[in-house]
C-alpha cells in the first residue's frame, strides 16, 4: 500500500506543508528516517547476535565437538548426547503431536458444527497458545513424570513438548484445510463419497503441503525450547545415548544452558559453539519447510 504523497507547495496544496518548504530536512523525511532506523536496528542486532555466537564458538566447532560426550574439560566436551537427545525428542514429539493436531483441525474445520462445543475448543486453543511454556513444564512434571510414572524420561519430555506444540499444529493445519476450495468437497459429495472419504482422498492430500510446512516450522521452534524440559527435570550431564522411551535424556538447548551457567569462560565458548549448531539445525528445518511447500505445491493444481 502506497499512500498518495500529498502535494506540498502548489496552489491546491495544504497550507501546513507550504510552511515547510520541501527541503531535505522536512519533518516527514526526518520522521521517516527515524522509522527506518527503528527497523534497521533490530535487524542489525540479529546479525550481531548470530555473528557473536559464530565468532565466539568457531574455535570449538569441529567433528570432535559433535561426536563427544560432555566432559569436565571444556576442550574435550561435545554435544553428542544432546544432539541425539534433541533428535529423538523431536521425532517423538512429532509422532504424538501431528496426528492429534491434524485430527483436531479436521474436526474443527470439517465436522464441528458451529455450536458451544466447537467454540469452546476454539477459545481454548487460542488461550493455550498464550500460556507460558514453563507452565507446560509444571503440567508435564505432575502429569507425565509423577502421575503416569514415566519418570524424567524421553517420553515424558516429548509428551510435554507435544502438548506445548499442539495449539500451533492445530492452527497451521486449520489454515491449510481452509485453502482447499469448497467446490471440490461438493464435487466429491456429488460423486457419492461420504464425508470421511472426501476428507481422506481429497481434502487431506490437497492441504498436506501447507500442513507439513506449518508443522515443521513449529517443530523448528520446539527444538529450541528449554524451560519446560528443565522443569520436568531433564538431566544436564548425560554421558550416554538414550536407548529407550524410558531413558533419561538431555537436549541441545539444555546443554547450552548448562555451559552458559558455568563461570569458566572456556565453557562459554562451548555454549557459543552449541548455539551455532542449534541455529544451523533450525535453519535447516526452516529450509526443509520452504522447500517442501514449493515442491508439493507444484504437484497440486486446480
Amino acid at each position: 500500500m502506497i499512500a498518495p504523497r500529498p502535494t506540498g507547495g502548489g496552489p491546491a496544496g495544504p497550507r501546513r506543508t507550504a510552511a515547510w518548504a520541501p527541503s531535505r530536512l522536512s519533518p516527514e523525511r526526518a520522521f521517516r528516517a527515524i522509522c527506518v532506523l527503528a527497523l534497521v536496528l533490530p535487524l542489525a542486532l540479529l546479525v550481531v547476535l548470530i555473528g557473536d555466537a559464530v565468532v565466539d564458538g568457531w574455535p570449538r566447532l569441529s567433528w570432535n565437538f559433535l561426536t563427544s560426550y560432555p566432559s569436565r574439560h571444556p576442550e574435550e566436551a561435545g554435544i553428542l548426547a544432546a544432539l541425539v537427545g534433541s533428535a529423538c525428542l523431536m521425532g517423538l514429539t512429532a509422532v504424538i503431536a501431528i496426528p492429534l493436531g491434524i485430527g483436531a483441525a479436521v474436526y474443527l474445520e470439517e465436522y464441528g458444527r458451529p455450536g458451544r462445543l466447537t467454540s469452546l475448543i476454539e477459545v481454548n486453543i487460542s488461550n493455550l497458545a498464550g500460556v507460558p511454556s514453563i507452565i507446560y513444564g509444571l503440567l508435564g512434571l505432575e502429569l507425565f513424570v509423577r502421575a503416569m510414572h514415566l519418570g524424567r524420561s524421553l517420553l515424558a519430555g516429548s509428551a510435554t513438548l507435544a502438548l506445548l506444540l499442539l495449539p500451533m499444529v492445530i492452527m497451521a493445519s486449520r489454515e491449510a484445510l481452509r485453502t482447499v476450495p469448497h467446490g471440490l468437497r461438493e464435487a466429491c459429495y456429488a460423486l457419492g463419497a461420504d464425508r470421511w472419504q472426501t476428507i481422506r482422498r481429497v481434502v487431506l492430500p490437497m492441504s498436506l503441503p501447507g500442513m507439513l510446512t506449518g508443522i515443521i516450522l513449529s517443530l523448528a521452534r520446539a527444538i529450541g525450547e528449554t524451560a519446560p524440559l528443565i522443569t520436568i527435570g531433564a538431566l544436564t550431564y548425560v554421558a550416554f545415548l538414550p536407548d529407550s522411551l524410558r531413558s533419561p535424556f538431555t537436549a541441545l538447548p539444555i546443554q547450552i544452558f548448562n555451559w552458559i551457567s558455568r563461570p569458566q569462560a572456556a565453557f562459554h565458548v562451548n555454549a557459543a559453539a552449541g548455539i551455532v549448531v542449534l541455529l544451523a539445525l533450525m535453519l535447516l528445518l526452516n529450509g526443509v519447510a520452504i522447500w517442501l511447500r514449493a515442491r508439493l505445491q507444484r504437484r497440486v493444481t486446480w
Binding site: 499512500a3 527497523l39 535487524l43 474436526y107 492445530i170 544452558f257
Partner: protein
C-alpha cells in the same frame, strides 16, 4: 457404491457406524486441548491448595521476602513479582518505541515489495531460541552496558530486559502493523483532502484509529515478557529482592521455577510446592493479559475503534 450414494444423499438417515467412529475419534483429538487446559488448572490448583494449608495467604501476600530455600523461610511473593515487573517493563520500554515506529514505516511508508521482505525478516527475531538470547544478554549486552553504566552487576535486570525487548519486538511490530494497515484508506484520503500532511495524517488519524490494535499488541508483548524464562534465568540473576533498581541481580517468577527444578527438591515437600504456587501466579497474570489483549482485538474486528 450404492450404499455410499445412499448414505451421502440421504443426510437425514443415521450415518454409518464407521463415519460416526471417525467423527468421535477426531472429536477426541480436539478434546485433548481442553484436557490440557483442565490438567494445567487442576495441577496448579491442587498444589497451590496444598501449599496454602501450610503457609497462610497473609504471609504470601504480606511478607516482603522470598526465601523458601533458606533455613529461615519467608514466603512473600512480592520480590518475584517485582523482578518480573521490572524486566517486563524494561522489555516493553525497548520494544514499544522500536516496534511501533517499525510498524508505522512498514504500513505507511514502505512500498509493497519492501514490506513483503522486511516483515518476515523482523519475525525471524521471534524464532530465535530464548537460550540464545540469554547467552547474548549475558556475554554481549551486559559487558557493553557495563562500559557505560558503572556499578552494573554481571547479572542484572537491565541487560536481560533489553534483550527480552528485542525478542518481543516482532509481536508488537507485526500486530501493530496489522492494525495500522487495517485503517481504511478512505480515512487517510479524507485527511489529505482536508489539507493534512502525511505526518499529521499518521499521528492524528491513523494512529488514533488503530489504538485498540496497538494496545492489544502491547499487552500481548507484556504477557510474553512475563512468561519468558531462559533470558532472565541466564542473565538477570537468582536473587529475589524487592527493588526496582535495574543494575542489580533480581529473580523473576519464571527464574525461581527453573532454579528449583535444577536442584533436586523431593516431590511433596513445601519447597516443591512453591514452584506450583509461583506457576499459578504466573498463569493468572498471563491469563489476565491475554484476555485483555483478546478483548481489544475483538473490538478492532468489530470496527469499534476509538
Amino acid at each position: 457404491m450404492a450404499t455410499l450414494i445412499r448414505s451421502s444423499a440421504n443426510l437425514d438417515r443415521p450415518r454409518p457406524l464407521s463415519e460416526r467412529l471417525v467423527a468421535a475419534l477426531l472429536l477426541g483429538c480436539g478434546a485433548v486441548s481442553i484436557l490440557t487446559t483442565a490438567g494445567i488448572i487442576l495441577v496448579l490448583v491442587a498444589e497451590t491448595a496444598a501449599f496454602f494449608r501450610e503457609v497462610s495467604v497473609l504471609d504470601f501476600l504480606g511478607d516482603t521476602e522470598w526465601t523458601p530455600l533458606f533455613a529461615e523461610k519467608h514466603f512473600g511473593i512480592w520480590p518475584l513479582v517485582a523482578g518480573t515487573a521490572l524486566t517486563s517493563f524494561i522489555a516493553i520500554a525497548t520494544a514499544l518505541p522500536l516496534g511501533l515506529l517499525a510498524a508505522i514505516y512498514l504500513s505507511e511508508f514502505a512500498a509493497g515489495r519492501v514490506r513483503r521482505v522486511l516483515k518476515p525478516l523482523i519475525e525471524v527475531l521471534a524464532g530465535i531460541p530464548t537460550v540464545v538470547y540469554g547467552y547474548f544478554a549475558l556475554t554481549f549486552v551486559t559487558p557493553l552496558l557495563q562500559e557505560v553504566i558503572p556499578g552494573l552487576a554481571g547479572f542484572n535486570a537491565l541487560g536481560a530486559g533489553i534483550v527480552m525487548g528485542i525478542m518481543i519486538l516482532p509481536i508488537i511490530a507485526s500486530l501493530s502493523e496489522d492494525a495500522l494497515y487495517a485503517v481504511p484508506m478512505s480515512l487517510r484520503e479524507a485527511a489529505y483532502a482536508l489539507g493534512g500532511t502525511r505526518l499529521a495524517t499518521v499521528f492524528r488519524v491513523v494512529l488514533p484509529t488503530a489504538v485498540s490494535g496497538i494496545g492489544a499488541s502491547v499487552i500481548l508483548g507484556i504477557s510474553r515478557a512475563v512468561g519468558e524464562t531462559m533470558i532472565v534465568a541466564i542473565a538477570a540473576g537468582q536473587q529475589p529482592r524487592l527493588t526496582f533498581d535495574p543494575r542489580v541481580p533480581i529473580e523473576t517468577m519464571t527464574t525461581y521455577i527453573v532454579q528449583v527444578s535444577l536442584g533436586d527438591t523431593p516431590a511433596g515437600t513445601l519447597e516443591y510446592r512453591t514452584i506450583f504456587v509461583v506457576g499459578m501466579s504466573l498463569f493468572l497474570f498471563t491469563l489476565l493479559l491475554n484476555v485483555a489483549s483478546h478483548y481489544l482485538r475483538r473490538r478492532v474486528q468489530k470496527g469499534g475503534t476509538l
